[in-house]
Symmetry: C2
Amino acid sequence: VNELAAGNLEAAEFVRELKTIVGSAQVFAGDAIDPRYRRDLLGKFPGRPGYVVRPASVEEVAAVMRLATASGLPVTPLGGRSGTVGGTRGVDGGIILSLERMNSIREVDVSAHTMTVEAGVVLQAAQEAAEAQKLLLPLDLGARGSATIGGAIATNAGGNRVLRWGMMRDMVLGVEAVLADGSIVRSLGKVLKDNAGYDWKQLMIGSEGTLGVVTAAVLRLRPLPTTSQTALLALDSFDKMPDLLRRLEGRFAGTLSSFEAMWGPFYEFVSEAQLIRRPRPMRTGHPFYVLIETLGAQAERDRSLFEEVLAEAIENDLIADAVIAGSERERINLWAVREELREAFRSLHPVVGFDISMTLADMPGVVTEVEANLPSVLKNPIALFYGHAGDGNLHIVVSLKDGGAGAEHAVELVVYSAVQRVGGSVAAEHGIGRERLEFIGYTRSPEELALMRRIKSALDPLNILNPGVLIPVK
Amino acid sequence: VNELAAGNLEAAEFVRELKTIVGSAQVFAGDAIDPRYRRDLLGKFPGRPGYVVRPASVEEVAAVMRLATASGLPVTPLGGRSGTVGGTRGVDGGIILSLERMNSIREVDVSAHTMTVEAGVVLQAAQEAAEAQKLLLPLDLGARGSATIGGAIATNAGGNRVLRWGMMRDMVLGVEAVLADGSIVRSLGKVLKDNAGYDWKQLMIGSEGTLGVVTAAVLRLRPLPTTSQTALLALDSFDKMPDLLRRLEGRFAGTLSSFEAMWGPFYEFVSEAQLIRRPRPMRTGHPFYVLIETLGAQAERDRSLFEEVLAEAIENDLIADAVIAGSERERINLWAVREELREAFRSLHPVVGFDISMTLADMPGVVTEVEANLPSVLKNPIALFYGHAGDGNLHIVVSLKDGGAGAEHAVELVVYSAVQRVGGSVAAEHGIGRERLEFIGYTRSPEELALMRRIKSALDPLNILNPGVLIPVK
């Protein structure tokens, strides 16, 4: 591994210095690096880090960053490895800075409705710590068992309840971060409102580890809802989707928490694959399905309102059919169609996935365009469409089984060109990482990219924080 | 005015160039400047601008900024002049860039629930345009009739419904802005989710015109609530306030929109001053009052739930009394105690006002400390306490009638020292402006201020955008 040595420091000396900072058990170099640090969730971005460092405190993170600055060696912060776009692959020979040991839940403040957590806390652990105090950390997503709070902040994670409570950005009240030069910037107050100067934490949120290393955060919690109403709806036309969404948002006032759309072929494919274990909740054959959920605190009132509003929607011909979950088991069964996708998609592998956004009105046009253009790049294409429609967020999964060498890239061009035409985003949730560098310019202007570069140079003039991610080098 | 000439350009030549950009009717210099551009809302920060320019398009704004960059003359963007901290006073001899002519509501997109507006649109006009389409722009504050969207973005405005819908930041989906060097950065998409690169618009929001001139924005709208439930509650102890808030938030699920606290003396003083025109809604003598409101869509259900929850709260001894508004007239009467303050405070003038934040649990300690220390700086001090308690936002108004020359500053020291001890914010809503430059360091660390300066230099290296505001010069 010596050929990976940094700047003018020898590798062995560099390792010694790292060990002085974090202890000798927490530094790995070259062949001693565990394979899990070389591999991401999908196995698409195998990395060759020179060093893995696992600090236990913000001071240790700061010392590592000072050393990195002195040596010029790049640093990639690592959370739960649940990213899908290569954002934590790191640079060959560089440093992977894993926050996994900073996993303490420092406080749940029941009166203030906040929790103070370190970056390495796994989302599910944070959710459970909140629930133990009858509070809700609203962020929820499929990777809850591995994704960390630090990663969720670095990628501004979304998920199933954005419609009601927003993205990670909307839950972060305070942040502690280490800048590229090793300075510690801390704002761990619990206040909802702070207009004293620039809200610099906004820069850290969603910057994919390129502007600073988030080490801790204060998160806003909500009262834990005590009842849920869940239903699967069928629509006979996409035109009715925006109307339905707005009607439900209005009638359910603040309680509509999820509005998840599924195109007919997606529903048929997934529910078919799950038939071994689960009954199909509704017949196939409808062109569109929507899974909705309200979360509230009045079991009877919420139920009667839910039934009344859905009955109205049927009467007004907004929906063609509805199945309401009558028990927690039925609720889980409804959600499975939308959530338990890894197993269901297995027969499609290899696949390429997308998380793009646009207005709901633009969505059918994008789907039509993608479906029309895929046959020119794939034989017998299988593309399934679904997503957090309430947020304008469309997911697409395309099987590359019958594709050749350039198939994935060709499919990306088809999808991102369609997004570009309607002015949406090529990265609604997962960020740019390494995979989408080529496409950020499809929905961001040259002036926006120039501004991003100015921000990057101001905070990380040596370009040592996660280089190669988020911003294309000119 | 010639002595105010910029850099190496003569004033007359400078005026000619400005007129070439915006037309001769839209440039004023020296004595020809209308007094309204020299005066802010409270008359505390009389300015002496050298030039007032009123562009009508983003291209004109860009050309003005290029000229300012070339001449080195400072530019202060101006909205509705409703700020209270001197943020738009401008620099003597500098340029006031008024956005008042950029006042077009470009679009209300009913399906996407967005509106696209220019910076100079008055908040109330935007609210009404949304309401005409049965949509809600949730931002609401006393200055709605004069405050502009651009100003609300530049100051990240708060107001009466932050508890439910957040601050201005949470409603801004897209921004168009002109940077110091005249480049136009535009991201006027309507999508809720965009993780493609840095969310640079977050830097513009709340930066008080020091990082860019916001010229237009896309705002997120909500379904217009059709019913409201409003009540004035009395509490016999502050200790019950956090519990009450959390109980109401939980039981009312997503519909609790306002939770406004008033200390007994505030309630007594204001309701007394309003007796000529309004009946007092509840007897005086309780130590605390809270005005609450839920906004929903189910008149009967909401009403019965509202009554049930308040009855429970009385039963559980959380509240001592409750008056529920039985009509729109009664609702307006309840709100008047909290909203119609200018007239009520007249007998206290001159006053100094504060908008500070902290956790609800820290609030009584801060109030006690301020009350204990005021007599050392003011004879017979009158201080009234109230605020958006649901957001941890405390307002204080202190009469300076019996104070001498240094009284205002002495009172500021008392209040901000108390905030500093609990780690809140010295500027929950109105920003730092010029008035609070001295105090930003009370709740922001040197590392945070250093980071803010780095951001400022990166975006405005010549320091021509609203210098003297927000960041103290070293």
